[in-house]
Symmetry: C2
Subunit: 212 residues, 2 copies
C-alpha cells in the first residue's frame, strides 16, 4: 500500500523525473510553432508547454538555438519517413515515383506549415544540419534523383544534367510546399475537385522536366 502511485488524478501524478524530456521538449516546441508561430517559441515557453521548470531544458540543450536545430532535424527525419512511407504504400502503378514522393512532401508541408518553415531556416543557417547522419539527410535527395533518372529526366551518365534536374524538381516542390497553405489558391483547389487533385495537377508538371 505504501508506494502505489496516487490514483487521485493520474495526469497530475508525474514522477519527478520525466523519462524523455528531450523528446517532450521538441514535441512541445512543434506544438508552439504550429499553434502560435515560430516567433512564439522560446525556451521558457517550451518548458512551460512541457510542464517543467524554465531551467530544466538546459540539461538537454545547450541553448535556444540547439533546441531549434533539434526541432528542424526532427522535422527532416519525419519528412523523410513520410516520403518513404508513401513510396511503400502507393498501389496505383500509373502514378510515377516522383509524383508519389512529391505529393508526400507537399502534404507534409501542408500539415506542418510552420514547422516546414523552421526546417527551411535550419537548412539555410550555414550547413546547420549536423553532418553526422549525412546518410539519413540524403535519403530524400537520393530517392528523388533515382526517380528522376528512372523517369528519363537525364541520361544516367550526364551527371550535371541529373543535378540540374534534381535542383529543378527540388525547387518546384519546395515552392508548391510553401504555397500550399496560401489561401489565394483556394478557389483553384475547389475548381479542381479538392486539394490533392490540385497538387497532383501541379506535380504532374515535374514530368515535363524530362521532356527532351
Amino acid at each position: 500500500m505504501a508506494k502505489a502511485p496516487i490514483p487521485s488524478d493520474d495526469t497530475s501524478a508525474r514522477p519527478y523525473h520525466h523519462g524523455d524530456l528531450r523528446r517532450a521538449l521538441t514535441d512541445a516546441a512543434r506544438t508552439i510553432i504550429e499553434r502560435d508561430g515560430p516567433q512564439a517559441l522560446s525556451l521558457r515557453a517550451g518548458a512551460r508547454e512541457a510542464g517543467v521548470s524554465p531551467a530544466a531544458p538546459y540539461h538537454h540543450f545547450k541553448d535556444k538555438q540547439e533546441l531549434m536545430l533539434a526541432v528542424g532535424k526532427q522535422g527532416f527525419e519525419d519528412l523523410g519517413k513520410a516520403m518513404k512511407l508513401a513510396l511503400d504504400t502507393e498501389t496505383d502503378p500509373t502514378i510515377t515515383r516522383t509524383n508519389t514522393i512529391g505529393l508526400a512532401y507537399v502534404m507534409f508541408a501542408r500539415r506542418n506549415p510552420a514547422l516546414y518553415r523552421v526546417m527551411y531556416d535550419c537548412a539555410r543557417d550555414l550547413d546547420a544540419l549536423p553532418h553526422e547522419d549525412e546518410e539519413k539527410d540524403m535519403t530524400g535527395y537520393n530517392l528523388v534523383r533515382e526517380a528522376l533518372v528512372a523517369a528519363g529526366a537525364a541520361a544516367p551518365d550526364d551527371l550535371i544534367g541529373i543535378e540540374v534536374a534534381c535542383a529543378s524538381a527540388w525547387c518546384f516542390v519546395h515552392g508548391v510546399a510553401e504555397m500550399s497553405s496560401f489561401a489565394q489558391f483556394d478557389p483553384l483547389k475547389e475548381a479542381l475537385g479538392g486539394e490533392e487533385n490540385f497538387y497532383r495537377e501541379l506535380l504532374r508538371r515535374v514530368g515535363a522536366f524530362s521532356g527532351r
Copy 2:
C-alpha cells in the same frame, strides 16, 4: 550669424524634423533585416538605426506589425518594378518574356533574401497586403499570366488551365527564389559557368509547362 546651421559636422547637423522619417524607418528596417535577420527587427532597433528616439516611430506606425507590413509592401512594389524594368530593357529577342520576368524575380530574391522571406510572411498573414492598391499588387501576376498565355501554356479560353499554369510557374519561381541563396547549389552554379546561367537553365524549364 544667428540661425545658420552649425557647420562643424554636417552629418550631425540633422534638423529637428526629419523630413521623411516614415521612409527612413522602412529603409532602416530593411537594413536590419538583411544585416541581422528578420528576428532582429524591433521598433527600437529601427529607430536606433534611423538615428531617432524610440518613441518617434509611433507618429508613423501604429505598432510593430504595421511597420513590418509596410516593409513587406515596399518589397513587393520594388519587386514589381524590377520585373517591369527587366521587361523594358531586355534586348535579346530569343529570350522569352516569362524567362526575363522569372530571372528578374529570382535575382531580386537573391539580392534581398531576408526581405523576400519577410514579404512572403506578409503575403501569408491573412490577406495582409492592403487591398487599396490591388492593381499594383496584381501587376506581377498579370505580367506572368499574359506571358504564359503568349507562350501557349494554355488556350486563351481555358481559364482553369491558365490559372493552373500560373500557379505552377509561380510556385516554381518562388522555389528557385528561396533556394537561390542556398550554398548547396554553389558547385552546380560553378559547373554551369556562373549563377545567372544556373537560374536561366532552371527557368528554361518553365517553358516545359506549356509542352502539350
